[in-house]
Symmetry: C2
Subunit: 640 residues, 2 copies
């Protein structure tokens, strides 16, 4: 049917095998120094002129002959005449002959228009910038393979270097392939996939100092793809083919490369990122077959294109900063491949804590949200919760230090909150993990987050959250603050075709329910509602089908693979679904006392209590901010 197995070349081996094939002899071009920012020197650059190229005054004052001032003393002031004993000079002026020292204006006593008095002698060459003080003609300003910074441009111009030989920017052709992909559009037919990898690739090529050449989409046809790659090999230094790099029916990357040269590696032992093709064309140029999944694609570029381009430019491929972090959750890895896990990071109680994001290669948002990357070696089976591991940083430590770590129940207003915080003080950001109310509370206990969002109903008291704090956080000083009241209800297809109104309607033939995960406040609410009418989970078809957020639950209904779920009004509204109100509930924030008292905590309070935030929230519908920001409870912990 199809060739289904790829090689399992270890990543490092693949990198060495591939990169050593290209001893690139880059082209050199001359650019005006004024336009050389970010370019890389193709040879050492030496000064053409000295700077200064004349003896220049370093101060505002007068130029004198030092030898003529030696008698000046407080008890024996010396008078000097303009054009005879001195000339007035400003900073940067040439020192007129025969003078050899400058006296600062601060030390002059003006007698009349032509006469000054001094009470201290000047020593020869004092306050004079001698020729070449900064740069001497012939001196090296920059070594070879140096990336030109603004200050370097200054030194080059000062040294009379008006043009610089730099390495020509590597040209990288980008060829997206696939019959199903379409240029970005909002008119999508089922099966259409928006081509976005090409834009991402082009941006990385720019960031790494190259020139992208976007070749346009080619459908899955061996001959058309081969033709386009041939064309690209003529005009570019490096060719990227996107998608079709696996071994499916219509994966032509590998065979096209084989037809135009040699396949060096097909398949690396990584998860994600396995279906990479590395090749060398008939004309000696590198071709990289980049996987179609965005996360795999990103990693493949980072592993192969980035070092290749830097090799081309004569630069060391920059490495990201690494730090040690504590894992907030257990991470399992199958042996046989290196795992690359995207993580969110935060600093909680002076300790960096990491939590894994989606491991799916198709989830672009896992890259957008990632603060760091964890690499699990081939032979490892993963790490336990609480274990310390080393991660590569995607954001600066400074940014991570100023990230408010939220974990708990999902609500759409968390997005609003994230933006409102940045609006108030953009040095801060909010990262949120939607793990459910109970898990959010447990995370507080384990010191993994600053804030938990929770709406846990105590069936006995009808009160929210308090009894859970008593149960789980009796040893952790925390503050409970209301965020919002919100409407929960049945989210159903537009027009409510299955006519769902009451909870009993869910038990009808052909109704497919979709539930939230265990520990989610919404699930606890559903269980409570079931009990009230004496129904059991077994009466609900789909009770065991779990989703992790209001939005993705609503999306499942929108997509037609469920008929109804319990969720918040805003999720229904955003996806243009119908909503039948069931209950209003209280959604609170629990924060550690330490965080509450910190600058970040006070910022958060300031933001949620602002009129702007509250009116934005209420305008979404289904929310009431009547108690937003109200402190509901502070626990007193003995010994703390």
């Amino acid at each position: 049917m199809r060739k289904i197995y790829l090689e399992d070349t270890p990543l490092h081996e693949a990198q060495v095998k591939f990169l050593q094939l290209f001893d690139l002899k880059p082209n050199v071009e001359m650019v005006p120094t004024t336009e050389s920012l970010g370019r890389v020197t193709a040879q050492a650059i030496f000064a053409n002129v000295s700077m200064p190229h004349f003896h220049a005054s370093a101060m505002d004052g007068i130029a004198v002959k030092a030898e003529k001032t030696y008698s000046a003393h407080e008890t024996n002031p010396l008078r000097l005449k303009l054009h005879v004993d001195y000339e007035v000079v400003d900073t940067g002026d040439p020192i007129p002959e025969p003078f050899n020292a400058v006296i600062m204006v601060e030390y002059l006593h003006q007698i009349d228009e032509e006469t000054v008095e001094i009470i201290e002698p000047a020593s020869p060459w004092k306050h004079i910038r001698q020729i070449g003080e900064d740069i001497v003609a012939g001196e090296m300003i920059l070594p070879i393979y140096h990336k030109i910074r603004p200050v370097d441009q200054g030194a080059l111009l000062a040294g009379g270097v008006l043009e610089v030989p730099v390495i020509a920017m590597p040209k990288v052709a980008i060829i997206p392939t696939g019959t199903e992909i379409v240029e970005p559009t909002l008119n999508l037919k089922p099966g259409d996939i928006i081509e976005f990898n090409g834009t991402v690739f082009a941006s990385y090529v720019k960031e790494w100092g190259g020139k992208p050449i976007y070749k346009g989409i080619v459908i899955d046809d061996f001959n058309l793809i081969q033709q386009k790659v041939k064309e690209a090999l003529e005009e570019a230094d490096i060719v990227l083919m996107n998608a079709g790099s696996s071994a499916g029916r219509e994966d032509f990357t590998s065979s096209v490369i084989a037809s135009l040269g040699e396949v060096i590696v097909h398949g690396v032992a990584t998860r994600p990122g396995k279906p990479v093709v590395l090749g060398k064309a008939y004309n000696g140029k590198p071709i990289i077959g980049v996987p179609g999944y965005p996360v795999s694609a990103y990693l493949a570029l980072d592993w192969f294109l980035k070092p290749l381009m830097h090799q081309f430019l004569g630069l060391a491929s920059p490495e990201r900063r690494k730090i040690k972090v504590k894992l907030g959750r257990r991470i399992v890895s199958k042996m046989g491949a290196e795992d690359f896990i995207r993580l969110t990071l935060g600093k909680v109680n002076e300790q960096y804590v990491a939590n894994p994001l989606s491991r799916s290669a198709g989830v672009t948002m896992s890259l957008v949200r990632a603060d760091g990357l964890l690499r699990i070696p081939i032979q490892s089976q993963g790490y336990e919760q609480g274990e310390e591991v080393e991660v590569e940083l995607y954001r600066s430590l400074e940014q991570i230090d100023r990230t408010i770590v939220f974990a708990g129940s999902h609500d759409l207003i968390l997005d609003l909150l994230a933006s409102a915080i940045r609006k108030q003080d953009s040095s801060y950001s909010l990262s949120s993990a939607h793990i459910g109310s109970l898990a959010g509370i447990l995370a507080i206990r384990k010191g993994e987050n600053h804030v938990a969002g929770t709406h846990l109903l105590d069936e006995k008291t009808g009160e929210y959250n308090l009894s859970y704090i008593e149960q789980y956080l009796s040893n952790t000083p925390v503050v409970l603050i209301n965020l919002v009241y919100r409407q929960q209800g049945w989210i159903v297809q537009k027009g409510n075709p299955k006519q769902i109104q009451t909870i009993e309607d869910l038990t009808k033939e052909g109704i497919r329910y979709i539930n939230r995960q265990r520990g989610a406040g919404t699930r606890i609410l559903f269980d409570y509602l079931l009990k009230q009418v004496n129904l059991s989970p077994d009466d609900i078809y789909g009770y065991t089908r779990e989703d992790f957020s209001h939005l993705s639950l609503a999306a499942a209904i929108k997509g037609g693979n469920a008929d109804v779920g319990l969720g918040i009004y805003s999720a229904a509204k955003v996806l243009d679904l119908d909503f039948i109100p069931v209950a209003e509930e209280r959604y609170d924030l629990i924060m550690t006392k330490e965080f509450y008292q910190s600058e970040a905590g006070q910022l958060l309070i300031q933001v949620i209590t602002s009129d702007e935030f509250k009116s934005e929230v209420e305008s979404m519908g289904g929310y009431s901010c009547r108690d937003t920001g109200k402190i509901l409870y502070k626990n007193e912990v003995t010994g703390k």
Copy 2:
């Protein structure tokens, strides 16, 4: 005569005073997502479509109805028919109705063209990417004030966001002023100063996300400058005036700003950087009067323009990484102003060591060479040698870790060596401090450098360097390796107008000698030459005038403020001076044993022993590489 005193506003106070004046309401513009790299979101961005927007196969395989596969078992294989029980799907394909699971191709046993056999059931939604798995329509992709990265572009396009509202790039007008400055040229008249700050400013404006508008040089004329600033205030968001910011005769910046608005601060308590003018124009726009000296200018931009532009863009102004380092030399500071000291950094014996560069505000090269910046508080008198201080990094720690730290005698071939090392392995660099042979040896003893360059003659034995190692490095394991033999001689004006041939000629009336600093090998050689002919330092006019390198000594002669000095042939040649040979001497490298055995040490040896390096050196003239790379001595240190 002139107003000569500026204010001494503490830097932090000046920053707060200035920045709080501008609550900038930035313009928003729409840009295509494909061109949004590096731009800053002007609002939170939400997905327009879900990704995927249909149920998609996550694998190559077949789509089936999960419920129909439940009976499949190893002992009871299940046969499925094409177009009845299954359809073939590739990764990314839509799942055809009514199927709800995918079985991977690896688990299929093909019976005939239309029939496959399976031995394991599929569970519902297995290997299907449900609608919105990556992004749900309505979900926030990016918060406000987020700098767009390549992956963000991918997520935006995937979420159907084809255009992004971003903050318009701040326009920054640059007005260089000064009658003496000229656009970059090689035809310099005495007094001409090449205008290079404008280029440096423009590049920083670009790096910080703005659009520079270069307004061209204006001569020192109040009305012309005022006119140009007015023009700039109309078209730009921020105006930079360069030079003229002090209080000299022709320093109009402050008065021009006062005439067009208000001067907020004139003079900050810093060294360098004091003459800054901060103002607010009649139309509310900020004007910065940037000092003329390049180092002062750079610091002023970093203190005021960088935070201002980031405030404009809604971003936190990025801070540089800080590390603790040991000071290789004592640094003295006068109280009353903060001192900003540029430093070179290196990692020697697992310890970061810092050495100050030139403190002159006019030395552009001190910025080019700087690895970091030390800030000395107003009330401090400085730091002792060996003291630990915190510095801000100008280069990455990774680059500093791979810097070979050279200190010792100056030679022009050190520039060649720096380039040759980068050519061989551009992840390494060489930083050299020209402190003289003896100081280089003492630095080795104190653990401040990896390599010292030395050519110290033992007058008794006529041998080079060895006796100095015995004297100073008896407790430090080192290796002595020859770098080169070189010609020392009299460097004189072109045509040798003073007719200098022998050392006795230096004692003639009207001959102005220029010497090297104490501890320099060349000075020791000169003393030795004097002794040989029974002359004393007192016989030489200018014996006490010291210069720190061959090149700057040659530049002093070129500039006419000395007639002769002892130096190497290459320095004379580079500056087109005449050279009268006096002696050939041996110039060696001393390296610590630890460095010698390291990867960096072996790289250095490999480079100097390469034919390419040796022929480059010899082609400069005045050098012989007959022993280059030869190990001359290794000391055995007990207990090491």
